[in-house]
Amino acid sequence: MSERRTTSVAQLRKVAKVGDAASAAVQSALRPARNLGFPYRKPSKPKGVVLPVEPNTLGADFDTAWARKAPAKMVRTVLTAGALRAMVKALANPEVEGLDRLADLLEQDPLPAVIFAPNHHSHVDTPLIIATVPEEFRKQLVVAAAADYFFDKKLKGNLAALALNAFPIEREVTTRKSSDELRRLIDTGWSLVIYPEGGRSPDGWGQEFKGGAAYLSARTGAPVVPVFIDGTGSIYGKGMKRPKPGRTKVVFGAPLYPVDDENTRRFNARIEAAVTALGDEALTDFWTSRQRAANGTNPKLTGPEHNGWRRQWALAEQRKLGKAGQRRRQNRRWPDLG
């Protein structure tokens, strides 16, 4: 026993010696730097001065420009072509209609920028749109995402920018800065996805359309392409804990161009009516939708005027008409009388 102690003490001494030598070496290496100050070190703040406010790089001011440069674009193309589309197919299995309405836009050289204006029920909407727009638009697509939701944390914001090419936009009042930035993007050929409802539907019915898309279209001349997405609310609606795979339908509408001296509110109403008609077309057929559009009797996306349970009841009825209602028929087993 005493021998072990003797050994450990001897070892400790050895270690201490090594440690001393090391610290001496480091100290001697750092000696010249000990006297270094600013600019090698952070400056100390003098008394009595007003310090400038650090720019807040979160929320609406998040910098996403790097995501539109070549290396990030390449990463995103790979992601989209592979993982994103596979995920969309597995989760949403979309049926796409109305692409022929975009044929004339695709013929133009250079490809014009357009503003896609879909209804919004789920986070799945954005990957769904990215996966179903024509290839030519997909390469040059920016998605306007809620600044307070997607860009409140640095990591989340960067991820959104990389994977979806997201751009921060305020829900309620679009500031001059973000709208100028969006206009600049459109002018340089980037197409935009913007959800006129502002956010996802809280109860399964649509919300009133806000004027962002109309405003941008009027200022830039880029046409608005109304889009109706059916079925995502049942897959991963607001409030659901985890997504439930199902089927969806995406219907593209004819491009809407701004008319001279039409005010934003009127244009916005036109866009909302177009998406409403597309919704009718998706759930019934083209002819019924056109006939009701002529009368102004397409079923409203915002749902009936009721409250409470009747509103939910009507939602279920409406969902039966759409893709969510198409469940696989269970294999009946008929009685076998031998």
């Binding site: 209609e97 109305g98 022929d100 309405r101 044929a103 004339d104 004819a254 077309e281 057929d285 083209f286 002819w287 019924t288 056109r290 006939q291 559009a293 002529a294 009368n295």
Partner: protein
């Protein structure tokens, strides 16, 4: 700026010229200093805002009130449209008919029209498959109207669904689809690829019965149609049709005719060498040609056929006009000739034609020997105004493999026509008298036409009549590269190579004949002076 068509005088430095040969091509060297090649004009540019132009045409028709004012709730509206025999090759989606029809339906919906029938005006052609209807009209119209039974195809053999409108002073009976005859307004959606179509022809053949068609679809009339594509006054076919048109105008339903013309941008980028002048082929074009022609010769015919029939053409609308049939058609013809007319001086001893893989009567199908004759002597020979390109008694040389192959579902009566009628006679007037009635009244053909996807029993006769003028005009008709017994059954002379063909032709036109080659497939009409 698209260049006009022109006539190339072949000399020693002219490269070999591209000939269609069914599902392949060949390059033939034409003798210098006595051959000429007629090149079609380059494609005109398409309209910039097509949907806008269509709307404009509907709101500002010629000789009639704007369409919305002619539509009212409670009316009987019938929309008839051209069937799958054009355009060739098929158009990229959305098809012109889809665009026009959606615009019309939009206006109909706005006016509150409920009773709408949409009818494929196919005459005695075959019924279209579902995928063909979807391609021409788009999924939206198909899914909205077909399940309701409001979108269907004209049945010329349904006695309950035909109505006689009237008779011309010459005794021709106008008998058309009953629903159309009883409508308040018939809107016709037309695509005019060639000058033969459109005008009164749309309704009086597309929705007609056999009885009505037999007045002008016969050997005698077609022999006196010089030509199918030229001036109407010289065409017995069109003269008769215009008489029937007058009956339709005077006693039939109101007609709102919408006509569109297409440019000749017929082949996508991958096949661009087809439309280019040979001396302007780039290295890429030459490589493509070699790759394509070698590859095709190795592929089984079925696969080569599928490859060609799957081509979707970028051709687009160059004009759209609507309203009174005669006013509209005059404008249409102006545009057709603007795209296709090439002035040519004089006739030659020989006319050479490369026959493509498709005719209006075998879209997505097999080109049987009768259709080779129809395409060559019927369509391509008739691509002239004033005078044929070849002199009377001259020689016509066509290139096509002319295999003895028929599509059993689309062309059942063609098989019997080849086995029974052609060994007996190739004279269109004689076969009309001796054989046509039997084919017209055969119950089995009628059953296949009405319920399957078969051309009507008499259709092979009509295909043969189409070539009657060419058959009568030429002194000898030679097919290069065709199956010999089959070519002989058609009444023509087989040859293995172009040189052999010239050798055989020397019996008729001597040793140094003059030659014209019609450089198709891009459409052209030669204005021969």
């Amino acid at each position: 700026m698209p260049r006009p068509g022109f006539v190339l005088e072949v000399d020693r430095s002219t490269p070999p010229i591209l000939f269609w040969r069914g599902e392949n091509f060949s390059l033939e060297k034409l003798p210098a200093d006595r051959s000429r090649v007629i090149y079609p004009p380059e494609p005109l540019p398409a309209i910039k805002d097509i949907d806008g132009a269509i709307r404009h045409a509907l709101l500002h028709p010629h000789g009639q009130d704007p369409l919305p004012s002619q539509l009212f709730a409670g009316m009987k509206l019938t929309i008839a449209f051209d069937d799958v025999s054009l355009p060739l090759p098929k158009m990229k989606r959305p098809d012109a008919r889809q665009r026009v029809m959606e615009a019309v339906l939009d206006m109909a919906a706005a006016a509150g029209v409920e009773d709408v029938h949409i009818i494929a005006a196919l005459g005695l052609h075959r019924r279209m498959h579902e995928y063909e209807l979807r391609h021409a009209l788009g999924d939206r119209i198909y899914d909205a109207f077909h399940p309701r039974g409001l979108l269907y195809q004209h049945d010329a053999e349904d006695p309950d669904n035909l109505e006689i409108i009237g008779t011309t002073p010459h005794g021709e009976v106008l008998e058309i689809n009953k629903r159309a005859a009883d409508s308040d307004l018939v809107v016709y959606v037309n695509i005019n690829s060639v000058s033969m179509d459109g005008g009164w022809k749309s309704l009086t053949t597309g929705l007609a019965s056999y009885r009505c068609l037999s007045h002008h679809h016969n050997g005698h009339t077609l022999q006196n149609t010089r030509s199918l594509m030229g001036h109407r006054e010289h065409s017995a076919l069109h003269t008769s049709i215009w008489r029937l048109g007058k009956v339709l105008k005077d006693s039939g339903p109101k007609v709102f005719q919408i006509e569109t013309t297409l440019n000749t941008d017929m082949f996508p980028e991958a096949y661009s060498f087809i439309n280019k002048r040979e001396w302007e082929w780039t290295a890429k074009d030459r490589a493509t040609y070699l790759g394509v022609s070698k590859g095709l010769s190795l592929l089984p015919t079925k696969m080569a056929r599928k490859m060609f029939h799957d081509i979707q053409s970028p051709h687009q609308i160059t004009s759209v006009q609507a309203g009174d049939t005669e006013l509209v058609h005059d404008i249409t013809l102006e545009w057709v000739f603007k795209q296709q007319l090439v002035p040519v001086e004089g006739q030659t001893d020989i006319l050479t034609l490369g026959i493509p893989f498709v005719s209006p009567y075998n879209p997505d199908s097999v080109m049987n020997p009768i259709l080779v004759m129809c395409m060559g002597l019927g369509y391509l020979f008739n691509m002239y105004r004033n005078k044929p390109l070849v002199r009377e008694g001259g020689v016509i040389i066509m290139t096509h493999p002319t295999y003895r192959d028929f599509h059993p579902v689309h062309h059942p009566s063609y098989i019997d026509f080849f086995e029974q009628v052609l060994p007996d006679t190739t004279d269109p007037v004689v076969m009309g008298q001796k054989w046509e009635q039997q084919y017209a009244e055969d119950e089995w053909y009628r059953h296949l036409y009405r319920t399957g996807n078969a051309y009507h029993g008499v259709h092979p006769f009509y295909a043969w009549y189409w070539g009657a003028h060419g058959q009568q005009h030429a002194g000898k008709i030679i097919i290069v590269g065709g199956d010999a017994p089959t070519v002989r059954r058609l009444g023509f002379t087989p040859a293995s190579t172009m040189d052999d063909a010239f050798e055989i032709a020397s019996d008729v036109v001597g040793r140094a004949p003059t030659i014209t080659h019609l450089h198709v497939p891009s459409l052209l009409v030669a204005d021969v002076s």
